[in-house]
């Protein structure tokens, strides 16, 4: 139904274009050579089309957002009272999802009570009605817009300016989408976290030394209370990120130095695409590589040395994440080094310094802000990286700094807590949002710091 409505709106808008274009074109032809129209016919067409399409589309969007919750609420009111008596919010939600499953034509385990099947039928009927109502509701403002806009079309009507004004608004809305996204992230993370902190105190979350989110699935189950202290999770994140940076920063930095200062242009032309390819490999591939290739190889090697390593150790995840970061650090350092003015190089060489001395004493200090901000961005990526650690690091939180042991990370916990779990109000799922908030804030701080460094020291040598 949504598709049909969208298509109908589109068709109506196309008709609106023609409806506005035709009279303007006629007037233009009639006054051949003279100045009959202020704007070209195209703008008259666009003006009418915009008046048809934009209100209708907005209405459809609002309708789609509101339809689900409204229907659900009405549906609950049709249910017999004893069916709802004494049900918690979560149980009501389960009941609703049963009705939805049934209405979608899937079978439920066991025989559902009669009021559920009835409700499913009602839901199907209502959805149908709502679909038609949406179609009518979308076309009504479209038709009104059509005639209203058509009435305004006259030879002296400044259609171009009007269309450009509309475009102004549309473009501003698109640019503001970035702000809305940030806002959406903050609001959704913040409110879900608030609900989490209503169940688990903030101090326990921030300073608790144990992370054991195994909470009873049902109220009557006897299970551990669960512990939500993020210290071990965060330590694990920092450990893996530190390993990856220790591995990636020297390699990335030295490759950038070689590429900018020593390599011939032909060598550069070969190596650059290789590094770009390395940067374009999806992280799930690196995760698979870590599990299937690096972990067994490293384990066997260390075993030969008499050292035992956990199969999903921090070292493996960190190393592979380091491989992922090499091209990132290399390309950012490359940019920073290449931005150092030639005059500084020539001055240093002219004074008799060797290339290495020029690099160490002149170029690196000059490019330091750029390199530092690149390293900070890399750290932010390492902390937020998900698939490699989901596949290669552990799930159980150990508070350790030993790289040969298994640790878990913030992102691993987010994914494992949320996979396959649809209930929105157990502390388990809410904990994932609290971790997400921490992750967002930490990476935000690193990104802002990196941005500040570049802004502060940019164009120092111009």
């Amino acid at each position: 139904m949504t598709t049909i409505t969208m298509l109908a709106v589109l068709l109506l808008a196309l008709f609106g274009y023609w409806f506005g274009y035709r009279p303007a074109r006629k007037a233009e032809l009639a006054a051949a050579g003279g100045r009959a129209l202020h704007s070209r016919p195209v703008y008259h067409g666009l003006y009418v089309a915009a008046w048809v399409g934009i209100p209708s589309l907005l209405l459809v969007l609002v309708w789609l957002l509101a339809q689900g919750p409204v229907i659900d609420r009405l549906l609950l009111q049709t249910l017999p009272e004893q069916a709802l008596a004494g049900l918690s919010d979560a149980q009501i939600r389960v009941l609703l999802s049963k009705i939805h499953t049934l209405a979608a034509g899937h079978a439920l385990p066991g025989t559902p009570p009669e009021y559920v099947t009835q409700a499913a039928d009602t839901l199907k009927r209502w959805r149908m009605i709502a679909g038609w109502a949406m179609l009518a509701g979308a076309l009504a403002p479209g038709l009104m817009g059509l005639f209203w806009a058509r009435l305004r079309i006259a030879p002296q009507f400044r259609a171009r300016q009007r269309v450009e004004r509309i475009l102004d608004g549309l473009m501003l809305a698109c640019a503001a989408l970035a702000i809305l996204t940030t806002l959406g992230i903050i609001v959704s993370l913040f409110f879900e976290s608030l609900r989490f902190f209503a169940k688990v105190p903030l101090t326990e979350f921030l300073f608790g030394p144990r992370w054991e989110p195994q909470i009873a699935m049902r109220a009557d189950q006897v299970a551990g209370q669960g512990a939500f202290g993020m210290i071990p999770v965060f330590t694990g994140t920092l450990l893996i990120s530190a390993i990856s940076l220790l591995f990636a920063v020297p390699i990335g930095l030295f490759s950038a130095i070689y590429l900018v200062e020593y390599a011939s242009s032909r060598f550069r032309a070969v190596v650059k695409p290789v590094l770009e390819f390395l940067a374009g490999i999806p992280t799930v591939v690196y995760g698979f590589f870590a599990v299937v290739t690096i972990a067994p190889a490293l384990k066997a090697w260390l075993h030969g040395l008499g050292i035992s390593m956990a199969p999903n150790s921090a070292l493996v995840a960190g190393l592979v994440m380091g491989i992922m970061l090499i091209p990132f650090i290399s390309s950012l350092s490359d940019d920073a080094l290449a931005a150092v003015p030639m005059a500084l190089r020539e001055g240093s060489i002219g004074l008799g310094a060797t290339k290495a001395e020029t690099i160490r004493k002149v170029l690196l200090p000059a490019a330091l802000p750029g390199i530092m901000s690149g390293i900070l961005l890399a750290a932010s990526r390492a902390i937020g990286e998900t698939m490699i650690v989901v596949m290669a690091a552990g799930i159980i939180a150990h508070l350790t700094l030993n790289p040969l042991e298994a640790v878990t990370t913030v992102t691993v916990q987010i994914v494992t807590l949320l996979i396959g779990d649809t209930a929105f109000d157990s502390p388990k799922t809410l904990a994932a949002f609290a971790l997400g908030l921490v992750l967002f804030l930490v990476t935000l701080a690193l990104n802002v710091l990196s941005m500040m460094i570049t802004r502060r020291y940019r164009e120092q040598y111009d």
Partner: protein, 437 residues
């Protein structure tokens, strides 16, 4: 350079201590150069190891082994009225033991039957349902081998494992008698290795020999379609606004800071956003390409905006000035002159953004786009789906040996798509990007 040279005194550059010093400095220079080269070779070597190990484990999965048998399609077994209820397992069983008359023992028969894939009866049924005229005849047809024997044919797993005194028979192959029966089939020329069309035509399956990528490819395609439809126009509009129209004020600054920051927000956070906002609040259907595409379009938007802005600012001002000078409005200037010139750069950025979206996994896991899709026919924008990277993740988690090869093959397919997209972007950049003005 410790003692300042006296202008009247000539420095003796050939003095031994000066020469040693010079040699040391040159050594340091060479050391730096070797370090740099070593770093690059390390990176390239790691890439080579990655690609080679993927090729080594993934290439066998592009071939699939089959066994050719003669199936007696007796109407009593086929059940022509309702073929779905036919005794296909029995037909396959009869065909296999017609080819292996020496296998008599019931228990051995049960083991030997595992040579053939559990999917074989269904594949035979589908084939006969498509050609109903075959009922009642005896046909020669190829059916899938089960995963262990497929691996054995390709030489991925050996007949014996362990070494020396500890050498024992590979338990996955069922025992020496089963292997003897298999070798008999091979001697009769019934075992063949063909290009694995199933990998591209089948959707997911619990059986490695039957599983394919069609569902994942369709899911990824639908998702990218949604991403493109949202992020391409919105990204261009935002970039044009910021680059050509926006007043220099705090609001514009704020938008720019937001865009730059969004480009560096971890992808899993976008997944949380999608889960809380699109699924939890707006009630959009879980696991669907619609939600996946919407989440990814928010992620791709900064990439497209940044690339488009770079492309727009590379358009020389003379073009704008010429258009404005002959009386075009600012919109006409941008839409008729600046945007067409910047289009190759914009498309390059869009393709790179799409390639990144194609490889993104974590947000899709959070919104549940790793559904088990055994059939492509029911897929749609708002139906549960899976995508290539999430399919890789699910296969990587599967314990069956055949899925290791399948996973590597799926990665090779994904990398192939990415390589194609990136090459298109590079080609566009080189074909249209290097104009001189």
């Amino acid at each position: 350079m410790t003692e300042p040279p006296d202008s009247h005194e000539r420095i003796d550059w050939t003095a031994p201590q000066r020469l040693t010093r010079l040699r040391r400095r040159h050594r340091a220079n060479r050391r730096m150069q070797w370090l740099g080269l070593g770093a690059i070779l390390t990176a390239a070597g790691l890439l080579a190891v990655l690609v080679l190990s993927l090729l080594a484990s993934g290439l066998p999965a592009f071939q699939q082994s089959y066994v050719t048998l003669s199936f007696d399609l007796k109407p009593a077994l086929v059940n022509p009225q309702d073929m779905r209820r036919g005794k296909w397992r029995k037909i396959v069983r009869n065909a296999l033991f017609a080819a292996l008359p020496e296998v008599k023992d019931r228990r051995l028969k049960r083991k030997v039957f595992r040579i053939v894939s559990r999917a074989a009866p269904y594949n035979l049924r589908d084939y006969v349902m498509k050609h109903p005229e075959l009922v009642g005849k005896t046909i020669t047809h190829q059916v899938l081998l089960s995963d262990p024997f497929d691996q054995y044919v390709k030489g991925v797993i050996p007949a014996h494992i362990g070494a020396g005194a500890q050498q024992r028979f590979n338990p996955r192959l069922g025992g020496p008698e089963v292997l003897a029966a298999f070798e008999k089939l091979r001697r009769d020329g019934r075992i063949s290795l063909r290009f694995n069309r199933n990998l591209f035509l089948n959707a997911d399956s619990r059986l490695p020999e039957q599983a394919g990528l069609a569902g994942a490819i369709v899911g990824s395609f639908l998702m990218l379609l949604v991403t493109f439809i949202i992020s391409f126009p919105a990204g261009i509009a935002a970039a044009v606004y910021l680059e050509e129209f926006a007043p220099k004020n705090r609001f514009t600054d704020f938008i720019e800071v937001n865009i730059n920051n969004l480009a560096a927000v971890p992808s899993v956070v976008f997944g949380l956003l999608g889960l809380a906002l699109f699924i939890g609040y707006a009630g959009l259907p879980r696991s669907t390409p619609l939600v996946g595409g919407m989440v990814l379009s928010l992620m791709t938007l900064p990439t497209i905006i940044i690339a488009t802005r770079a492309a727009l600012s590379a358009v020389p001002p003379s073009i704008r000035e010429a258009a404005l000078g002959i009386g075009a409005s600012r919109y006409q200037t941008v839409l008729h002159h600046v945007l067409p010139v910047a289009m190759p750069g914009i498309l390059t950025g869009a393709i790179i953004g799409m390639a990144r979206a194609l490889g993104e996994t974590a947000p899709l896991l959070l919104i549940g786009m790793n559904a088990f899709i055994p059939d492509v026919s029911g897929m749609g924008i708002s139906e549960p789906a899976t995508a290539l990277p999430t399919q890789i993740y699910s296969w990587a988690d599967s314990p069956e040996r055949g899925f290791v090869a399948r996973t590597s093959a799926a990665i090779l397919v994904l990398l192939g798509f990415l390589l194609a997209m990136n090459s298109t972007a590079i080609w566009l950049r080189q074909r249209y990007g290097r104009r001189t003005w």
